[in-house]
């Protein structure tokens, strides 16, 4: 897969510089820490919400910095958690009397960086909390890992705590809300092609013309298993079979349904997937209350998609529907 890139080492900073140039009124860029923050942050009247994670998942997370969403994002290089001092310095810059909420997708590297960064910030007397997101049902045997990964469902946690923070919620209430959303959110992804990191210049793994990677991670890690490419509806059925029984989502539930593109799949195909998922859920008595069809958390240029369900209650639904502004896909 060919890419638009200059020196691969500058891929992330050049992207961030472009982002800042395109949104000068709302965003501020601090090159030293790959930091993208709201131009009006930190605001003393609210908790600051910060997310790190590797780059290559755009719009997550640098492009969901904005009103009712993140106050800042400090990504690492492509697929690499941010170094600890990005987390530390970002936390210092975003500190407010109400505190800083650090959102972490559940990966070894990210957790270490945020744990270490938080320790240092706490030693400075700052008020911080970490909230871990782990919505990926693809990881079955959590004995051998740090547990389930945080993937596209992350958006719902950001959206909910972002809305609540905007309304003045306290740090402990944000933790409660974030945990609650994470607890009712499940995701499963499928890759049709491998992605190509700019610095590597070639696909991360080989996938035959009739193979798909079922349960693929958002870092191009191979997934649960390799399967034969089938038609789109059968793929949706397989994703639902992994996601629905996991919580489980049951007849009578109201859900948010997200079909998230992994970077190389056009939105036309995402809506085609959405159609079947919506219909199949209806057959199971599960009603879609809110729909999300777009790219939210990608894996560079990988062709593929993930399916996320969130079980809604009135509080979550209200927070998801609250106003938000971001460079892309605020809803």
């Amino acid at each position: 897969m060919k890419k638009f890139v200059n020196d691969p080492k500058n891929f992330v900073p050049e992207m961030l510089e472009g982002l800042a140039l395109a949104h000068p009124d709302t965003l501020r860029y601090v090159p030293a820490y790959n930091l993208i923050m709201r131009a009006d942050a930190p605001r003393t009247d609210k908790v600051s919400i910060v997310q790190g994670s590797g780059s290559g998942h755009e719009p997550a997370h640098v492009m969901v910095v904005g009103r009712g969403l993140l106050d800042a994002a400090c990504p690492g290089d492509v697929f690499a958690a941010p170094p600890m001092d990005y987390v530390y310095e970002t936390t210092k810059l975003l500190a407010t009397p109400k505190g800083v909420l650090l959102l972490v997708n559940n990966y070894t590297g990210d957790r270490m960086a945020f744990d270490m960064g938080k320790e240092m910030a706490d030693a400075d007397g700052l008020r911080t909390e970490i909230l871990t997101v782990n919505d990926d049902v693809a990881v079955t045997d959590s004995l051998y890992t740090v547990g389930r990964r945080g993937v596209a469902g992350n958006f719902f946690v950001i959206k909910a705590v972002g809305a609540a923070a905007e309304q003045g919620a306290e740090l402990d209430d944000l933790i409660r809300i974030g945990r609650k959303v994470n607890d009712v959110t499940r995701t499963m992804g499928v890759g049709l092609t491998a992605c190509t990191p700019p610095a590597k210049g070639s696909p991360l793994f080989e996938l035959g013309a009739d193979e798909i990677e079922f349960g693929v991670g958002i870092h191009g890690e191979p997934g649960r298993e390799r399967r034969r490419l089938t038609d789109a509806d059968a793929i949706v059925d397989a994703l639902l079979d992994a996601v629905v029984p996991d919580l489980p989502y049951q007849s009578g539930d109201r859900v948010a349904l997200m079909i998230n593109g992994l970077g190389g799949t056009p939105v036309s195909e995402l809506y085609l997937l959405y159609r079947h998922a919506h219909q199949r859920l209806a057959e199971r008595g599960i009603r879609v209350g809110r729909s999300y069809v777009n790219e939210y958390c990608t894996s560079l240029d990988m062709a593929g998609a993930s399916l996320t369900l969130v079980r809604l209650d009135d509080e979550i639904e209200t927070l998801l529907a609250a106003p938000a502004d971001a460079p892309v896909n605020p809803f």
């Binding site: 590797g54 690499a80 958690a81 070894t108 270490m116 045997d141 051998y144 590597k200 890690e221």
Partner: protein
């Protein structure tokens, strides 16, 4: 101090020279960024090389550890940074075989604590521990480097229980761990360039 400097510089240069190789190893069941992360981080260490605190081996290693931990992203920053920090804390005079072994043991303990990992999880520990065992026993770097390579190659038969490769479960069998192989390659380079007076004692 000259020995310590040489060793750290060799680690840095080896990591930079093997960026592509280490990255390719990490892309088999990982996410392919290991080579890039190490190379970029150690480049930054070399950038500030002249200004590093050289009071003694301990403070030098701790300064390196801080730089690595705060400049390398991914899992490797905290893991390698912690290793250098702990080795620095265990440094002292004379820098003899026992001391070097103690420093390596401190680094290993730091990695285990930071990574919640142990020997057998298919990580760099699976090369670093055999390397340390062999160095302690033989006092010979070349022998220890051979032990590291053998152990790194043996990770191919293991199933990953930590790090990103662990998500693939059984499918992680059949390829060597990138971190373990990096330890082996670095050990070989150190053994090539460093003829310490101390290790014989």
């Amino acid at each position: 101090m000259n020995g310590t400097e040489l060793v750290v510089r060799t680690i840095a240069e080896t990591a930079i020279a093997n960026e592509k190789y280490f990255g390719d190893l990490d892309s088999v069941v990982g996410d392919g960024d290991f080579g890039y992360s190490l190379a970029r981080g150690f480049e930054k260490l070399l950038d500030g090389w002249a200004d590093l605190d050289r009071t003694n081996a301990g403070s030098f290693l701790k300064r390196c550890g801080m730089t690595i931990a705060s400049r390398i992203g991914g899992t490797s920053g905290p893991i390698w940074g912690t290793a250098f920090l702990r080795a620095g804390a265990a440094a002292g005079e004379p820098l003899d075989r026992a001391r070097v072994a103690a420093m390596l043991r401190a680094a290993i303990d730091g990695i285990k604590a930071r990574g919640q990992s142990d020997v057998g999880d298919k990580t760099l520990l699976d090369a670093l521990v055999p390397f340390t065992d062999s160095l302690e026993k033989s006092g010979d770097l070349a022998t220890a480097a051979r032990a590291a390579r053998e152990a790194a190659e043996a990770t191919s038969a293991m199933v990953a229980k930590r790090g990103r490769a662990a998500y693939t479960g059984e499918r992680s069998r059949g390829s060597v761990d990138a971190g373990a192989m990096a330890v082996a390659v670095i050990a070989e380079r150190i053994s090539d360039v460093w003829q310490p007076e101390v290790t014989g004692s």
